[in-house]
């Protein structure tokens, strides 16, 4: 794969992730917990991880967090999304690289969602210096099961078709 192809493809993935993030903020959730999100853009990170690798997934994840601040305008959410994105990326990479015999992409995605939530709640605990915020974690973990499952399911289909459809670019 040529360098220019890779750059274009990664920037396309970043923009898809941004669009998904903006889209999911307009979808109402049945539960009201700070930090509970659908995590649709996690799909993009997971697909990047599968097709390219850790470095590219990190680039997409960090770029997405930074540019999203320019769209939504909430600077305070940058810390939460950055910490969550970095930890979930590392967790998903380890799970995908070393435990892919045990977990399918669904398991990888659930682990990533769990890592994302733990990092976000820890950031909130650090910023507000109140240890009791950790009491939100059990509920967040249960919600991350559902979102992680569907994100993983979609990522299986996306990465399968993407690998097939783009094989002439990847092999060039």
């Amino acid at each position: 794969m040529k360098r220019i192809n890779k750059i274009i493809f990664l920037s396309l993935l970043v923009s898809i992730g941004l669009a998904l993030s903006v889209l999911e903020s307009s979808i109402p959730l049945p539960i009201v917990i700070p930090g509970a999100r659908l995590g649709l853009s996690n799909m993009v990170i997971l697909v990047t991880l599968v097709i390219f690798g850790l470095k590219e997934a990190m680039v997409v994840s960090i770029l997405k967090s930074v540019v999203l601040v320019l769209i939504t305008g909430s600077v305070s959410s940058l810390m939460y999304s950055l910490s969550g994105g970095i930890l979930s990326g590392i967790v998903m990479y380890i799970a995908y690289k070393y435990f892919s015999k045990i977990f399918s992409l669904i398991g990888v995605s659930i682990l990533g969602a769990v890592g994302h939530n733990i990092a976000q709640v820890s950031t909130a605990v650090y910023i507000m210096s109140n240890l009791r915020i950790y009491s939100y974690l059990p509920i967040l973990l249960i919600t991350s099961l559902f979102t992680g499952y569907f994100v993983g399911l979609s990522s299986i289909f996306i990465s399968k078709n993407l690998k097939k459809g783009l094989s002439h670019i990847f092999n060039a």
Binding site: V32, P34, S76, I102, S104, R132, I133, P138, L141, L145
Partner: protein, 126 residues
């Protein structure tokens, strides 16, 4: 979906339910409860539940944003907020010790705390 996925899902459900039970059990019966309003990690105001504070509203204006909270009969809720998502308003009222309302953009935590000792009576006249 592999066997490992299923084990992972069951494990996370068990862990979160156990820790949820732990959090709920940790809340013992307190003699008295009070509202602790914290902004950016520091206690901003402390309100003890009392007949005189029912229906009172407390505006919280800090460098991080504006919130208006209302105290009811043993519960407290946020009725106005300057944050974009208004999650703290949507959450409604909290009443038991250990419950909290968090507003991440405004760095606001409203927590109900309990004290195990009874409040000392200043003076009784017969």
């Amino acid at each position: 979906m592999t066997k490992g996925d299923k084990i992972l899902i069951v494990a996370i459900i068990i862990i979160s339910l156990v820790s949820l039970g732990f959090v709920k059990n940790n809340i013992v019966n307190y003699n008295e409860k009070y509202i602790s309003i914290q902004v950016n990690g520091q206690e901003y105001k402390k309100v003890i539940f009392d007949n005189s504070v029912i229906g009172k509203t407390i505006p919280i204006e800090t460098e991080f944003g504006y919130n208006l909270i209302e105290i009811g009969d043993g519960d407290v809720r946020v009725i106005e907020a300057s944050c974009p998502d208004k999650l703290d308003v949507l959450q409604g009222a909290i009443s038991s010790p250990g419950e909290m309302i968090v507003c991440l953009p405004n760095r606001l935590v409203i927590e109900i705390k309990g004290t195990t000792e009874t409040r000392e009576i200043d003076y009784i006249s017969y």
